[in-house]
Subunit: 264 residues, 2 copies
């Protein structure tokens, strides 16, 4: 049982990626469990196999404890701690090969408080796990925003302590030239540094961003670049994401024997 | 008119710092306007001079647009765009020397989406402004969390594009030894690197964190360290924060002539 924890800032497309990637894995005859860890989500594009809203529901928390929307979100995520055993049992019962964990909308409330990393550790137990960190394509296409996303990605990497695959979601919104430009920026720390300084960024900040890129390189890899493109809408890049996760989770051992799907 | 934009992750103590720092400035005979920019806050420790909840209230947005707590927070922050002129006029009418801007609970929804930086730019206009970024003391006292906070701080610095003073809030929760330890870690990139590697962090990540520290150094300063300690509860460090902001906002020109308050 492999756990893939999908993390990214609000609106980056976590749930849509869980939906599309789950379908892709099933199409390739792999068993999938989709786990919703967001007590406040109102609508999901997929049918969750395990849903924390059965234990904690942010709307109910809001009414019962007379909290505002802010307080209810924080409190309901903290309340998940009481249900980690139930969640873990429900996941085990699915006997899935891959467990896709969809995390709360705001990564700040999840990754940057103590509850989120604790809940993840408890749910994973001894199983192998990786984080799939997603950047919003709209952010990645601006070098300054790209740099700030890299800091967030490394911050999540450190907070969650899991091997991490980094992907730009909503790749369908990018023109091929934009993808080439982003790829060129992230395929070497020097290129990123030069692109940022060319955009007027302070050299010390550009240097820190370039170092972040190095630190985000996959474990045991000599390649600095670690940013893949994926689209939940078109399915573009799902095979690439799978290969990268597989590398991290099972040292490249492949569980699906189909031909890779076409890239466009 | 100087703007001080208080930013930090959920629960870091932004509102309490606005309260305490506002009182400190007034005690030193400086005119202060306290601006609440959080449409979802339920309770504030201070009486805001300008309050965006008069224009947008997250609870009302939730009911009117039938949104969940998550969606209501995102939508209500986006709606601030329509009221930047009103907010700016209200602020101007206060004729304050210092405008303390208290930002929404979740910095992710504010600093890492486009609305927040836009609203801030519009409200500030031609006035001088700085960000006061706060780290939670509980986070700063663990080297790995400290590193992840440094990435967040630099990310905010890049997103908001303002000179930035970085402070550890809730210093009253730290023992003097813990403060010394944190200070030693942040007073040179080498020390931070060594502390992180000693805690088992991957050297590339530790290097990125050390670079972040350099990049967070105040503009025009040769000192790499830029982390101050402050307590809204005891008042500790408010004079230090003031001096650091003053350095950034007015090149060190001082508007208050009192003796600095004692440090403990």
């Amino acid at each position: 049982m492999f756990f893939i924890v999908v993390v990214g800032p609000a609106g980056s497309g976590k749930s849509h990626l869980v939906d599309a990637f789950g379908d892709w894995l099933e199409f390739n005859e792999l068993g999938v469990a989709r786990v919703n860890l967001d007590p406040a989500v109102e609508w999901l594009p997929y049918e969750p196999d395990v849903d924390v809203r059965e234990y904690v529901d942010a709307r109910t928390v809001m009414k019962k404890h007379r909290l505002g929307p802010n307080g209810a979100l924080v409190a309901s995520i903290d309340m998940l701690i009481d249900y980690v055993d139930n969640i873990r049992s429900e996941i085990e019962a699915t006997q899935a090969n891959y467990v896709l964990v969809d995390t709360p909308g705001q990564m700040e409330l999840f990754a940057f408080r103590d509850t989120g990393p604790y809940v993840i550790r408890e749910i994973i137990g001894d199983s192998r796990a990786a984080t799939l960190f997603i950047f919003d394509a709209v952010f990645a296409s601006n070098p300054r925003s790209l740099a700030s996303s890299l800091f967030l990605a490394l911050s999540a990497r450190i907070r969650l302590g899991l091997p991490q695959v980094n992907a730009v979601s909503k790749a369908d919104l990018l023109q091929p030239e934009q993808m080439d430009e982003i790829e060129e920026q992230v395929n070497s720390p020097e290129n990123l540094y030069n692109a940022l300084v060319a955009k007027g960024m302070d050299p010390l900040m550009a240097e820190a961003a370039a170092k972040t890129l190095e630190a985000l390189a996959p474990e045991g890899s000599t390649a600095p670049a670690a940013l893949r493109f994926v689209s939940a809408l078109s399915g573009y890049g799902l095979d690439d994401i799978y290969a990268a996760l597989q590398q991290v989770l099972a040292g490249g051992e492949d569980f699906y024997t189909e031909e890779p799907s076409p890239r466009h």
